[in-house]
């Protein structure tokens, strides 16, 4: 059991009206929340790290709720993703500890979302930014919802910190027209189609 020591959070919401084409009737909202916490394993190799995943569960749920609320509530979320930036005194494996608590927090909050939560991670210095992928919450192949959001903060992560990130969106890319599986056509059973 390790304590989760939160230094700061950064909540960002983007409202996209158009991108050179027709102005959408309903703007697309994309949001991210980043929690900067102390990395309990920084500075040395620790073999047994899995317990920290459970320690992170309450933080994951709190972040997911805060982000969904900022975008208009769990009911309007259609895309999600997650990521982690590990401070320089840690290892990329520490970022992998975010998969379970980050992903399942969102899936639980969004009513048993079927699709795998896309993710990315890296080791980075203070000010590093991460392009966090976004896909449809119930069917990974929905082409209109493939997107990403750049996330970062000028003073994090410090060497002994982890920056844990969740992202959500309320719909498709603003001028999506690249074909493929449409959100309206999904079965939503296997998480893929």
């Amino acid at each position: 059991m390790h304590k989760v020591t939160l230094r700061k959070t950064v909540l960002s919401v983007e409202e996209v009206f158009h991108e050179g084409g027709p102005v959408a009737e309903k703007p697309l909202l994309r949001g991210s929340i980043m929690a900067v916490i102390k990395n309990p394993f920084a500075g040395e190799y620790v073999n047994e790290i899995q317990g920290f995943q459970d320690d992170l569960k309450p933080l994951g749920l709190e972040m997911a709720m805060k982000l969904a609320t900022a975008l208009g509530g769990a009911g309007v979320i259609e895309g999600y993703g997650k990521g982690a930036i590990v401070g320089a005194a840690g290892e990329v494996e520490h970022g992998a500890l975010w998969h379970a608590p980050g992903g399942y927090a969102m899936r639980e909050l969004l009513g048993d979302a079927k699709a795998i939560v896309p993710s990315t991670k890296k080791v980075g210095g203070v000010g590093a930014r991460l392009d966090v992928p976004l896909t449809h919450t119930n069917a990974s192949y929905v082409r209109s919802h493939f997107d990403a959001m750049e996330v970062g903060c000028n003073d994090a992560p410090k060497a002994d910190e982890l920056a844990l990130i969740l992202v959500m969106s309320t719909g498709a890319r603003i001028h999506n027209r690249a074909g493929g599986l449409a959100a309206a056509d999904i079965k939503g059973e296997d998480g893929l189609r």
Binding site: T5, L6, R7, K8, T9, V10, L11, S12, V13, E14, E15, V16, F17, H18, E19, P27, R129, E150, C153, N154
Partner: protein, 194 residues
């Protein structure tokens, strides 16, 4: 609405710990950014008054977005700032036209009072560049604990024919202020300075 807005982004930073010390309640800063079309991109235009009117609209809109994002009453705002970054087909004067003539008054309504000068910065830039928005106390510019700044950047803004306009509002000063000077509690807030 005169401004043609492509997107709006709002960021909130909360600091819970600074140098190992708990900050309770956490200090909080919000910055709201609008990415707008630059009506004067690509050629010299003498009369910039349309940008001044856009500044007035955005002062109200972005000020309110910050206050709403912080979940505070307007009078609970403690510091503010404004900035603009002009895409490569514009000129620095476009930022000045948005920021200085008319943006301040509606922003002051959004944060109630605002006797002090609104700290500002401006630059030319390209997508993904960082814009540092200065922060100063809204009613008494000499309050030393509230001199600060917040960084904002959007990977896709400003495009060549766009302008990024940012307003920042806080409900607090720096996390661990200890360099002396006039304090928030001592400020009279009448002349905008002390």
């Amino acid at each position: 609405m005169k401004a043609k807005i492509r997107k709006i982004a709002v960021n909130i930073e909360e600091t819970h710990i600074e140098m190992g010390r708990a900050i309770s309640p956490p200090t909080r800063k919000a910055v709201a950014v609008a990415v707008i079309e630059n009506p004067f991109a690509g050629s010299y235009t003498e009369d910039l008054s349309p940008l001044m009117d856009i500044g007035a609209e955005l002062g109200a809109l972005l000020g309110k977005r910050c206050v709403d994002a912080l979940g505070i009453t307007p009078q609970a705002a403690e510091s503010y700032g404004k900035s603009a970054m002009v895409g490569e087909n514009g000129e620095l004067e476009h930022a000045a036209a948005i920021l200085h003539p008319k943006l301040g008054a509606p922003l002051r309504l959004a944060v109630e009072k605002g006797a002090a000068l609104v700290a500002s910065s401006k630059k030319m830039g390209s997508p993904g560049q960082v814009l540092d928005v200065p922060l100063g106390h809204k009613d008494a510019a000499y309050v030393r604990s509230h001199f600060d700044g917040i960084e904002v950047q959007l990977n896709d803004s400003p495009r060549a024919n766009e302008i990024m306009v940012a307003v920042a509002v806080t409900d607090s000063g720096r996390p661990l202020p200890r360099v002396g000077g006039l304090t928030h509690a001592e400020a009279e807030g009448k002349d905008g300075l002390r």
